[in-house]
């Protein structure tokens, strides 16, 4: 099945940005509609990136651009890992590394707003990591391997046995997607106390790289949601896509119904959710006999 893996990997690299762009555009239109506004055209993110690339390079730091490009490359490799059915732990690790590359790139700027934003970004990574690691452990407990392709040989979707891990993932997705109530570090709305956070001083090529990285990230995160719904049945892929769409709509609704909370609340709640969801769900496993169970 190597050819299938290669094909999927190439498809991911080529199609994911297009899909990410369209989903981001749809996100903006839906958010606008929830606020009784019209919203821009669905291709607006593409127009934005095109405009950013056409800007004069006046203040771009070479180190910053290289680090941002590395961030993008690592994320693409993470997605390739995922779609080629490779090691899931590697995918999560690369995704985290990509975030760290962004943090390093942003810390190049001396502006106080950027520095505070960088601190908050680090905090965000620390809040997401526990849940993501528990997610990977859950995959291992369910299928017996860290490999994504092993999910396609199960009979039941993973969400049946790991519902709390799923809820925890959706909770953490709010942080990763930078949606209220957890859009504390940097978001597309520059109204915060730290203006645009880590990306305040970036423009032109730097900002374009960040945009494209976010497109890839969107597809990868939605794929993680979809992982809970795939089985050996090929139709389950449709179910996975539907589930990802529903979760995305839910995230947009949550974004428009909550204020932004402070970092202390985000930290406490994300660790609490990770702890509770992980412990309770794994406890369920240790007392029930089932197919992919390793410990008994």
């Amino acid at each position: 099945m190597v050819w299938l893996s290669v094909l999927l990997a190439i498809l991911f690299v080529v199609v994911a940005p297009v899909l990410g762009c369209l989903i981001t555009g749809a996100d903006r239109i839906l958010t606008a509609r929830m606020q009784r506004r019209r919203g821009p055209s669905i291709l607006q993110p593409y127009y934005d990136v095109r405009k950013l690339l056409e800007k004069d390079a006046r203040a771009n730091d070479v180190v910053q651009v290289i680090l941002l490009a590395l961030s993008l490359v690592m994320l693409v490799v993470a997605g390739v890992c995922l779609y080629a059915g490779a090691n899931f732990l590697l995918c999560i690790l690369l995704e985290t590394l990509s975030s760290l590359m962004f943090i390093l790139a942003a810390s190049v700027d001396p502006s106080p707003f950027v520095q505070v934003g960088v601190q908050r970004e680090i905090l965000q990574v620390m809040c997401c990591e526990p849940m993501l690691l528990l997610f990977a452990v859950g995959v291992y407990l369910y299928t017996g391997s860290f490999s994504v392709s092993s999910l396609f040989s199960t009979n039941l979707p993973m969400v049946v046995w790991l519902p709390l891990i799923f809820i925890g993932l959706v909770f953490v997705l709010t942080i990763k997607l930078r949606k209220s109530p957890f859009d504390i570090a940097s978001s597309h709305h520059a109204h915060q106390e730290i203006v645009a956070g880590a990306s305040t001083e970036m423009s032109g090529l730097s900002l374009a790289l960040i945009e494209v990285t976010h497109w890839y990230e969107l597809v990868i995160l939605m794929s993680w949601v979809g992982m809970f719904f795939v089985t050996s049945n090929p139709l389950s892929v449709l179910l996975a896509i539907l589930a990802a769409a529903v979760v995305f709509l839910l995230e947009i609704w949550i974004d428009n119904s909550f204020a932004r909370v402070k970092w202390q609340v985000m930290f406490k709640s994300s660790w609490m959710v990770a702890l509770v969801c992980g412990m309770v769900n794994f406890a369920m496993f240790f007392f029930i006999d089932s197919n992919g169970l390793v410990f008994f």
Binding site: L30, R33, M34, Q35, R36, R37, R38, W253, N256, S257
Partner: protein
């Protein structure tokens, strides 16, 4: 849990409602009849008194009495309607659509057609003639009065009042038309 999603209902309802915004200028804006958009003038009715020009808080109006024109710098106008309210002949009105955008600032000048100017010039000449005639009549009247008083004073026995009247009459006869007109008005 009851403190969550308080705005959730309004958010979901809005998703399925028509947007509250107007896609201006593609969609035309509906103005109210009273909207203060821009000042317009019926130049034929304007009497060039200059009340609007003096009262304007931004100084955007200019009235040229000699050429019968009225001009406005719409980019300085703040639509306060002071000119509309203070015009004595009510030739100014407030239209309800805003001034259109332009790429350069300019001053709008409103003037009369040559035919209208001819009419106005004729009216001005007629007014001037009437005033001149009135002044002459008043002056003649005063001279006649002065003569009568002179005659009366000679008859009376040289009192202070008679010499004062003579002196007053003397100055009146000596000074020009303008003061004679004023004196005539006061005495009449």
């Amino acid at each position: 849990m009851s403190g969550l999603f308080k705005l959730g209902k309004m958010t979901l309802q809005s998703l399925f409602s028509k947007p509250a915004t107007v896609a201006y200028p593609a969609e035309p804006r509906e103005y109210y009849p009273m909207t203060r958009g821009q000042v317009s003038i019926d130049i034929a009715a304007c009497i060039q008194c200059g009340t609007c020009e003096r009262g304007c808080p931004t100084g955007c109006l200019a009235v040229d009495k000699a050429n019968y024109t009225w001009s406005i710098n719409r980019y300085q106008c703040v639509q306060c309607q002071h000119c509309v309210r203070s015009c004595p002949v009510h030739c100014l009105t407030m239209r309800h659509n805003y001034t259109e955008s332009a790429t350069e600032k300019h001053v709008d000048v409103y003037g009369l057609t040559p035919a209208q100017r001819a009419v106005k010039d004729a009216e001005a000449r007629a007014r001037a003639e009437k005033q001149a005639k009135a002044r002459e009549a008043a002056l003649a009247k005063k001279r006649a009065k002065a003569q009568a008083e002179k005659g009366g004073a000679e008859k009376a026995a040289g009192t202070g009042a008679a010499s004062a009247a003579k002196g007053g009459a003397g100055t009146t006869a000596g000074s020009g038309d303008a003061s004679g007109g004023d004196e005539g008005a006061r005495n009449a």
